[in-house]
């Protein structure tokens, strides 16, 4: 094995290791949180970041050929599909849970949320101005 092969082996192993660590974090998060909408946050991380890290490591192992291109296609597809499936899952949870209010704050009207967000932003801005004035 030449020096280039060794470098490829080390960098690829680092990427695959990073991917496995991210999968482990995902599993820990899924067992640590108490409610589906919180767990989904941890699960979506593995769907995009974990599989990207693992497949980039495998792409470095395999070199430049059609296998690499197909693996890249898998990553790109998952970047589009994973947010959509997370969104559909959270809609399922919001539509079928009768006491959703026990787990999170619900805004019946979106305008109320908008107003609160604008007020919070204004507060933050004024605080920053005070801090800069001091």
């Amino acid at each position: 094995m030449s020096a280039v092969d060794w470098i490829r082996l080390v960098i690829g192993s680092l990427f695959v290791l990073a991917g496995i660590v991210i999968f482990f974090t995902e599993l820990y998060g899924v067992f640590h949180f108490k409610y589906v909408l919180n767990r989904m946050h941890a699960a979506a991380m593995g769907d995009t970041l974990g599989i990207s890290a693992c497949l980039i490591g495998l792409m470095i192992f395999s070199g430049l050929n059609f296998t690499t291109l197909k693996m890249f296609l898998v990553i790109v597809f998952l970047w589009f599909a994973s947010p959509v499936s997370s969104h559909v899952l959270s809609r399922l949870e919001a539509a079928t849970n009768d006491n959703l209010a026990a787990h999170c704050e619900i805004y019946e009207d979106v305008e109320v949320l908008d107003r609160e967000l604008i007020a919070a932003k204004a507060d933050k801005n004024s605080e920053e101005k005070e801090a800069s004035a001091l």
């Binding site: 094995m1 092969d5 082996l9 192993s13 695959v16 991917g19 496995i20 999968f23 482990f24 995902e26 599993l27 899924v30 067992f31 589906v36 767990r39 989904m40 699960a43 593995g46 769907d47 974990g50 599989i51 693992c54 497949l55 495998l58 192992f61 395999s62 050929n65 059609f66 296998t67 197909k70 693996m71 296609l73 898998v74 597809f77 998952l78 599909a81 959509v84 499936s85 559909v88 899952l89 959270s90 809609r91 399922l92 949870e93 539509a95 079928t96 849970n97």
Partner: protein, 110 residues
């Protein structure tokens, strides 16, 4: 020859670790108190299986296994969307029926 001596144990180690994680995911899918929990766990398992199939493609030097991985990604996405939509439909149908039955009962009482 030397290259294979290094890559094969590495790939097999990755496969073993991923299969243990897959089992833990299965526990979440069985335990999950709500339907969304189970669907999410199945989605996670799909992701891990995709990585395993890609590792197998490099281990056996068979390029067509990555095609299977791509199709697996598409089918797992489709299954999550379709099952969620079907379950929302079933839930709303049951709710509608319950309201109908309750309405019928009040009519009888009056």
């Amino acid at each position: 020859m030397e290259k294979e001596m290094i890559y094969h144990p590495l790939f097999i180690l990755v496969l073993v670790v991923l299969s243990f994680m897959l089992l833990v995911c299965l526990i979440r899918a069985v335990k999950g108190p709500r339907v969304a929990d189970r669907l999410m766990a199945v989605n996670m398992m799909g992701t891990m299986v995709m990585v395993m199939i890609s590792v197998l493609a490099l281990l056996f030097q068979e390029s067509y296994l990555v095609d299977i991985c791509l199709i697996y990604a598409m089918i797992s996405f489709l299954s999550v969307v379709v099952i969620s939509k079907v379950y929302i439909g079933i839930y709303e149908e049951q709710h509608h029926n319950q309201e109908h039955v309750e309405g019928g009962n009040t009519d009888e009482r009056s």
